[in-house]
């Protein structure tokens, strides 16, 4: 069995974990005034919106660097509907999965 070194999955696990802890510990250790600038706070609150939106789009509409529309689009569409109807999280996820699985298995 051959293993790529460094294996990207292990690298990702170790790198993400290390940085996540450093970022957490930093907050407990640095003086408050360093990071409490309103502009930094505003940008920091917007970053998750941009990154999570981009992730949703890429995972729903692309495959191997190509734009495609398949069963996932229908699943995510149902999830959006569930969210508009204020459904709880498990309902959102399960309705998306059921829709996508049904189309995949028929098609």
């Amino acid at each position: 069995m051959e293993i790529d070194f460094p294996d990207p999955f292990w690298l990702a696990v170790i790198g993400t974990s290390l940085l996540a802890f450093i970022l957490k510990y930093l907050g407990h250790s640095v003086p408050k005034r360093w990071l409490s600038h309103p502009r930094i706070l505003k940008i920091n609150s917007l970053i998750p919106i941009a990154l999570l939106s981009a992730l949703v789009a890429v995972q729903s509409f692309t495959k191997d660097s190509l734009l495609i529309a398949d069963q996932r689009m229908a699943g995510v569409g149902v999830a959006i509907l569930a969210l508009i109807l204020r459904a709880p999280f498990p309902v959102v996820v399960l309705s998306a999965a059921a829709t996508s699985a049904a189309l995949f298995n028929i098609g």
Binding site: K24, S36, A50, S53, L55, T62, A79
Partner: protein, 224 residues
């Protein structure tokens, strides 16, 4: 921490259970993206911050490099730094305790602590520790369950997991879309990431949208 306020304990437990159950979605997403069960569990134990974990498995699952996965996850983890800043004077801990406190500094522990602050600093502290430890326990148990479940499934698409993962992201994202700027940014990020996808290596289109957040953030300040 002799006597625990009952209301604080109840809120901590309900948050821990609800949020911990998301761990099933993470474990399943992680295995579907190509991480092993062990790697998935280590991400939950060591990284222990949901959005970053989902991001790193999302980027690698889409074929992105480890570097772009780590960078995307870390950008999402910056808010924990800000939570730490907020919690440090409340907790007032040093040494080993500070290390433990840092590891469980996440959305939920900070959120419950702040919601208990009107009951006094002691209730806020209890809220932080109970919620942080509670989420840690349930999140890790459910990650293992989700990872083992996904491993037993075979083709993730046949079970709809390929749509469940973006749907789970959407569930995390939705409550954050409060005003017009948020929604506009969300749509702009989707459009930019999709437009870049055919021309850039996987992972790059996603992390590039952080620039949109900076742009929108600077604009928002000018309007104030």
């Amino acid at each position: 921490m002799s006597r625990v306020n009952r209301a604080t304990a109840a809120q901590s437990l309900s948050v821990s259970l609800t949020v911990g159950a998301y761990g099933i979605a993470f474990g399943a997403a992680s295995v579907a993206a190509g991480f092993s069960v062990l790697q998935s569990c280590l991400l939950s134990l060591l990284t222990f911050t949901g959005a970053s974990q989902f991001a790193v498995v999302g980027v690698l699952g889409a074929g992105g490099s480890a570097l772009s996965g780590i960078a995307t996850a870390s950008l999402l983890g910056v808010r924990n730094t800000l939570y730490g800043l907020r919690m440090a004077p409340v907790l007032n801990v040093k040494g080993l305790r500070r290390i433990f406190a840092a590891q469980i500094t996440i959305d939920e522990s900070t959120g419950v602590a702040l919601s208990q602050e009107h009951l006094g600093v002691k209730a806020a502290r209890q809220g932080f520790w109970l919620t942080g430890i509670g989420v840690f326990i349930f999140w890790n148990i459910f990650t293992l369950a989700g990872a083992l479940g996904a491993q037993a499934m075979g083709n993730p698409a046949a079970w709809g997991l390929d749509a469940a993962v973006p749907a789970a992201f959407l569930g995390l994202l939705w409550p954050r879309l409060i005003n017009k700027t948020d929604r506009l940014l969300a749509l702009a990020a989707c459009a930019l990431a999709l437009a870049m996808t055919p021309y850039f290596v996987p992972g790059v289109p996603i992390i590039t949208t952080a620039l949109l957040a900076v742009f929108f953030g600077l604009r928002a300040n000018l309007w104030r």
